[in-house]
């Protein structure tokens, strides 16, 4: 099997479950050692780390709330001491408060922004030093909510817009250090959590997607792997949309081409 990432070290924030787990597994399948950051689900993170080790790579879990600067520092201190280098940073962890915009108070705003947007700033600052001379890659996981409006998604959507803007700044300012920085924006992804929420509506979701099915965590992981490869060297500061074509469809038009009545 082709394993271009042998000898590399990746950090996946929120890598214990969902999309982060799929990304961790994909990077490991390409040979990368993986640090799985988690916050509130240690058991799941441990299980993922075990899966990674079974694939023959080194895996380590580190607990840190990426919303807290001191915890990010502690996490990177551990990485510095134990490894002294880093090749790939995947900023995937996210949280948020789902409320209509008029109910988003300061606490909800700060919580969401700190975990979803500021964490990339602080992680990238520490990661850049560990990536010195190693052609590092940074990929952030955003969502279509950065430019489309979903109900009760205001705080998260704005935090994702900030994440994408920061991705552009990082891409330019870290380019001289040989670091490639990009983001991925996904539409609704079929994770366990989402399966629960959209129970019974799978057909409608599928129908609204020109590609004919919903986006899976593996779809995201595949593009992450590409952005972390040397083939993607000239892609910088971009947000790659993974939505099976849903966001380019004009409103009120069905996937089969007719106009919905």
């Amino acid at each position: 099997m082709n394993q271009p990432l042998i000898g590399k070290l990746s950090l996946v924030t929120g890598g214990g479950r969902g999309i982060g787990r799929a990304i961790a597994l994909k990077l490991a399948s390409q040979g990368s050692d993986v640090i799985v950051n988690f916050f509130r689900h240690r058991d799941t993170a441990e299980k993922t780390a075990k899966e990674l080790q079974d694939m023959g790579v080194k895996a380590k879990i580190i607990r840190a709330n990426v919303g807290e600067p001191a915890k990010i520092d502690e996490m990177f201190d551990v990485i510095s001491n134990d490894f002294g280098y880093l090749d790939i940073l995947i900023s995937n962890a996210a949280s948020g408060v789902g409320r209509p915009v008029l109910d988003v108070d300061v606490k909800a705003w700060d919580w969401t922004m700190d975990i979803n947007a500021r964490a990339l700033l602080l992680c990238a600052q520490r990661a850049a030093r560990l990536m010195e001379g190693r052609n590092g890659k940074i990929v952030s996981i955003s969502s279509l909510g950065s430019f489309l409006v979903w109900p009760t998604y205001a705080a998260v959507g704005v935090s994702k817009a900030a994440l994408e803007a920061l991705t552009r700044y990082l891409a330019i300012e870290l380019a001289p250090k040989g670091i490639c920085v990009n983001a991925i924006a996904a539409s609704a992804v079929l994770t366990d959590a989402l399966k629960f929420y959209i129970k019974g509506q799978e057909a409608a979701h599928q129908q609204a997607t020109p590609a004919g099915r919903m986006v899976t965590p593996e779809d995201i992981a595949n593009v992450v792997a590409f952005l972390c490869s040397e083939d993607a060297f000239m892609i910088r500061g971009q947000t790659i949309i993974i939505d099976g074509g849903a966001s380019v469809m004009a409103p009120f038009v069905s996937t089969t081409g007719g106009v919905n009545q």
């Binding site: 509130r40 689900h41 240690r42 607990r63 709330n65 408060v97 606490k107 919580w111």
Partner: protein, 81 residues
Amino acid sequence: MSIEEQIKDIVSEIVRVDKNIIRREGTFKDINADSLDVVQILLRAEETFDIEIPDEDAEQFQNFGDFVDYVERHIAEKEKA
């Protein structure tokens, strides 16, 4: 100050309610704590008592008393270790 009193202080500060309305048999819902309040209470308790409270455990709490008992048990276990 007892652990129960310290936890009451944490809860009353975060949820902004009078300490005296927090009862062992009461729930977070009773004092109008939203999900973000609950996460922040758990985080503050983790820091104050230097323990870890995974979501799986927190979901089992039926009321404030369960939460206090949990914290007391884990502090005791930590001290034994």
